[in-house]
């Protein structure tokens, strides 16, 4: 199938792009197109106008300092994944990105596009939630920052207003002594996961906190606090907060079992990472 007709603009500044969006309530942003164009071709979306942000200079920046990683709206997954500073300062971003689609898709898909697309099957929204990240957006009345928990409001629905563009995402740095891990089960490496899990462990002994984020285990990306839970109970404690569904790829019962297995796996790996990082 082919997309239905739409208008097309290719602005050269963010302000101009925002004006185009504000002027047409049926307009949509086109970033990497790796999610949007399939929706157009299947006619699941039929915007009246596409505002292609790909030629706006400067939006592809990846800035890293000791506070964290700031990823511009046009930074492709591939560029973020290849950045050694990103890997050093917030390794969970790189660990998760290696599981986002195939290399060819990562050459065009953007990390910010993936965050605002708000797919509960996607890796990066969970990472944003778990690390306490945020998205910076620009609209007609200026810029604002949306913290990750306020970004995800429904299946495939983010809290951006129709005339707002996400200009960058921020992932805070991994704290000293903390550890992270990511793991997912997909039918083929690079395909959407049946279930995926990311863990963040901080502190030791009495002070330890354990949080795990899940993809494809409910309608929304979800983070569960598993601090103080016994190792044998981890999976069932997580499942109390999750709602894994049935589809053609897997049954709910199988997804629940994957939650149990992956939770144990990522918590153990994050603890090992924390210990290694402390040495």
């Amino acid at each position: 199938m082919k997309p239905a007709p739409f208008g097309y603009r290719r602005p050269s500044t963010v302000a101009e792009a925002v004006r185009e969006l504000a002027a047409d309530s049926g307009a949509k942003v086109l970033a990497g197109g790796q999610s949007l164009i399939p929706l157009l071709s299947m006619r699941l979306a039929a915007p009246s106008l596409l505002v292609d942000i790909n030629e706006i200079p400067g939006l592809d920046a990846i800035e890293v300092d000791e506070r964290g990683v700031r990823i511009g709206a046009l930074a492709r997954h591939a560029a973020v994944l290849a950045d050694p500073d990103v890997r050093r300062v917030q390794p969970l971003v790189s660990l998760a990105l290696a599981n986002v689609a195939h290399a060819t898709i990562r050459n065009r898909g953007t990390t910010v596009g993936s965050l605002v697309h708000a797919d509960a099957a996607a890796e990066m929204p969970v990472v944003l939630l778990l690390t306490g990240g945020s998205v910076e957006v620009q609209g007609p009345s200026g810029r604002r920052t949306i913290a990750a928990p306020d970004l995800y409001v429904g299946p495939l629905e983010s809290s951006l207003a129709h005339d707002e563009i996400a200009v960058a995402a921020f992932f805070p740095a991994l704290a000293p002594g903390a550890g992270v891990a990511f793991s997912e089960i997909a039918r083929r490496h690079g395909d959407y996961a049946l279930v995926g899990a990311a863990a963040l462990v901080t502190g030791r002994g009495q002070d330890e906190t354990v949080r795990v984020g899940y993809l494809s285990a409910g309608d929304l990306p979800t983070v569960v606090d598993l601090t103080g839970v016994d190792e044998t109970e981890l999976g069932d404690a997580a499942l109390a907060h999750l709602d894994p569904g049935d589809d053609i790829h897997a049954t709910a019962a199988y997804r629940a079992q994957l939650v149990r297995v992956l939770t144990r796996r990522v918590v153990r790996a994050a603890r090992a990472h924390a210990e290694g990082a402390e040495r």
Binding site: P5, G7, Y8, G33, I37, L40, T104, R108, H189
Partner: protein, 165 residues
């Protein structure tokens, strides 16, 4: 209502083509129908199969997931641009011929472009890396074993070409 057409300059395999297309024209369709290069194949049209993969500024990209209007001012290489001007096969093409890397050939253009770029980035892949390189492409004839062999053979040909020059 007639649809607005956009004049677009597409540079494909070093040749510039001026085409007039609606904004919704996919790059894959523009290459096949407007430019007349039918080597790029279209399978799934939603990014899963990889048959339509072309190089944009040297990187492999799904041409079914890019609009022709967005491709203006970028360098595109299709499977037709891989052989030398005199018809000499590229190392990857030669390796596919030697290793029986194609059966019906429908998926082949996407594999050839993907592997060409993959070997540029990693000229001597391990067996595992060779498999990973083609993991995003589907072959309905399931010729994967021979395609992986072709990746490894192409790396050998590339290395001996480099040693010879």
């Amino acid at each position: 209502m007639s649809e607005e057409l956009h004049p677009v300059r597409l540079t494909v395999n070093g040749v510039t083509h001026r085409v007039e297309v609606p904004a919704r024209r996919l790059l894959s369709d523009a290459l096949r129908h407007d430019v007349g290069l039918t080597g790029t194949h279209v399978g799934c049209e939603h990014g899963v199969c990889g048959a339509c993969t072309v190089l944009v500024d040297g990187d492999p990209v799904r041409s079914c997931l890019m609009l022709a209007v967005s491709a203006a001012d970028h360098e595109i290489t299709t499977v037709e641009g891989l052989a030398a001007p005199d018809g000499t096969l590229s190392p990857v093409q030669q390796a596919f011929a030697e290793c029986h890397g194609l059966q019906c050939g429908f998926c082949t253009p996407g594999f050839l472009t993907t592997i060409t770029a993959g070997l540029r980035e990693n000229p001597c892949p391990s067996h595992e890396q060779a498999r990973e390189m083609i993991a995003g492409n589907l072959c309905r004839c399931t010729g994967y074993q021979n395609i992986v062999k072709a990746v490894e053979r192409a790396a050998q040909i590339g290395a001996s070409d480099k040693a010879a020059s």
